[in-house]
Symmetry: C2
Subunit: 414 residues, 2 copies
């Protein structure tokens, strides 16, 4: 049997080679024309989306909401593409340059990754966002969305293709998987040498499958088991404001705080206030014995609770004795995503930040700032929790690799 | 059955956490003490090496030479460790820093990778080099060398452990595989979450196995099918000197040129001189029809020849019509390692460099400059030919990842 990925990936590689050499005006023109096409074809897109929704009457409310498009959401996709067009071109930037004693000038230059495989679930906007980011980063992308949103994704893809055509760029730079067959996902994951990078975006089940099966490098978001550590020298008002935001601004995002660590010295005075603030917003708690000695009404936490990413209005609480114990708790239970310390002591803050292995450490700020937009990346394709290539928010710069350009005058190596 | 990697990897992870926070003086002290121990234990090491050689009387000459140690080679290992100690600390460098409109200061900071698994063959010096580089980069390393050199590697490892102990660093920061059982290699390759990165170093068989089986990210050197393209505007003398160096300085290194591409406009005058120079040094040729029209005595090249990494005194030759045809040939047959153009035309040179996807592109210089030492990295653990994380020579900087440190004043996310 022929590998079903082969014709698709070969077209993608040829398109990637052209796209890697495309100048910024053509890429931006494609993005602008795709945005215009999204607006022009709005009714087609909404009709496709209605058909998707009609074909899946048993979807849960949250899932249905993610799948649903309306005029405002189509406009948001169009604006998203225009915002990506306004961002600087990440490819071709000179990242470093130095001269060797023999006169060779060595430049490290940002370069498009090549062919990216995007595997996602039902959100139709991922089709537009991922296509736009990969295009601007100079890489071809193969999109494989969930079957529930296939009609919507196809309608959006038509607009992207319109944009590429209008700018004279190869349509194969953005392709949809030609089949919803699950075996095709397997073929994508096994396509080492054809696809350069797989980015999964969706629930834990999807991401885990991709990470376990892929033979292609993966940039993935595994888990955000994030801690906010309130140090003894924390300003009480700041700790209260930041923790409420870190836990309750949105409980389902990957940057939400899941565990509060609080110094024993400050806990008797401050913990009741923190709990009161959060409880008023509907938050529940799982607390260790030391926290329950202060607030006996809190439910007891098990070891498992400290290893649970709640993604909900629930907070694990542990009382610790100083920064080293906080770091040890984080090393034991955390997922190396995002941690924050609240303290007025700069030396303690630096010790905490330096002691972390996590992708993002914050001093006196909410863990919910872990986001490409908040970092100033303009747009992000996701958050990476691995250690290789890129960590934290993945924007256009992180979607690039690099190469060296070495300028000589006839040098030979001794 | 328990995973045999578990106790080793857990000790390595604990050591990595300590090493990541070790300051430069302790790491350099460990390297210096290990170098002193290599000198002090020279006779032990040479005796272990003699036992390795005696146990493998049937080794081929080249393999035997790679395995053999003598006083000078032990001294070279000791000096190698001292040179690594003299290099700047790659961890903790601030790679970028910016301030957001809300006042958050965001710093991207270099961070040790964690636990590195090194899988290599018979060269005993890899034990010292890899241990030294990983230690300086703040990562723990698990070394699994070939069975033929096991006694030599163990004797060298004793010296590294001496160094770690002398500096008060955990000995588990540098561990040898506890068994030569091949299943242990499989366990290393499958140790996702325990080992952060696998670096294979050895022949194509080893590297291919590692790349196919690993569930852990791999930084590997696959193949160096490198091209030197002599453009119509090349200086003849420069082209001759650079090509001789690129092909014949050392034919077995990964930066050696394997294929000459030469413009049709210059080939009748220059190709006979290039061939004459190389032939005088013992080089043989496989040429396409257009080259054979100029030099009919050259052996004809097949398609396969252009896809062959000779690693020997053999050169494939193709005549092309300009830079685009050269780039197309490289895209079709190359391995994205290292390519050079020889030309006096700066615009053509830039078009060539920009059109490459290869890790290293050179203008008017020998492809044999693809080397960490020549790039100024001080030392390299290998060359990477993939697209993720690091490309080209892998030195201390490339052995690091990064994280973000975000400094706030109580900011919450709207």
């Amino acid at each position: 049997m022929t590998n079903p990925i082969l014709p698709v990936a070969q077209a993608a590689r040829a398109a990637a080679a052209r796209l890697a050499r495309a100048d910024r005006p053509s890429k931006d023109a494609a993005l602008g024309a795709a945005a215009a096409s999204l607006r022009a074809r709005r009714e087609e897109i909404l009709a496709a989306n209605a058909a998707d929704l009609a074909a899946a009457p048993d979807l849960s409310g949250a899932f249905r909401d993610r799948l649903t498009l309306n005029a405002a959401r189509v406009e948001a996709m169009a604006q998203g593409l225009e915002e990506i067009a306004a961002l600087p071109d990440p490819a071709g930037r000179v990242l470093a340059e130095w001269t060797r004693p023999n006169g060779l000038v060595i430049r490290r230059v940002a370069q498009p990754l090549g062919v990216i495989g995007m595997i996602y679930e039902s959100r139709p906007n991922v089709t537009a966002d991922a296509a736009g980011l990969c295009l601007k980063a100079g890489s071809a992308v193969l999109l494989r969305g969930g079957s529930e949103g296939a009609r919507s994704a196809a309608a959006i893809h038509v607009c992207i293709a319109d944009g590429l055509r209008a700018a004279g760029l190869p349509e194969a730079a953005v392709q949809m998987a030609p089949t919803q067959d699950r075996a095709f996902v397997g073929a994508m994951l096994g396509a080492a040498g054809l696809i350069d990078l797989i980015i999964p975006r969706g629930g834990k089940g999807l991401v885990t499958r991709v990470m376990q099966e892929a033979r292609v490098p993966v940039l993935a978001h595994a888990e955000g088991l994030n801690h906010t550590y309130v140090h003894a020298a924390a300003d009480h008002a700041m700790a209260r404001a930041v923790l409420v935001n870190a836990k309750m601004r949105r409980t389902g995002v990957c940057g939400a705080t899941e565990t509060l660590l609080i110094d024993a010295a400050i806990a008797p005075a401050l913990l009741p206030l923190l709990v009161q603030d959060l409880r008023a917003l509907g938050c529940d708690f799982r607390a260790d014995a030391r926290a329950r000695a202060i607030l006996p009404e809190l439910a007891p936490a098990t070891e498992d609770d400290f290893a649970t990413e709640w993604l909900d209005a629930m907070l694990s609480i542990a009382v610790v004795d100083g920064v080293e114990e906080a770091l040890a708790h984080i090393r034991r239970h955390g997922s190396e995503h995002t941690e924050a310390i609240i303290t007025g002591d700069a030396a303690v803050a630096q010790a905490f930040l330096d002691g972390l292995a996590s992708a993002v450490g914050l001093w006196n700020a909410s863990t919910q700032f872990c986001d490409g937009g908040e970092f100033g990346f303009g747009a992000e394709i996701g958050i990476a929790t691995g250690r290789m290539h890129a960590r934290g928010p993945v924007g256009l710069e992180q979607l690039c690799t690099y190469r060296y350009q070495v300028l000589g005058a006839g040098q030979t190596r001794p």
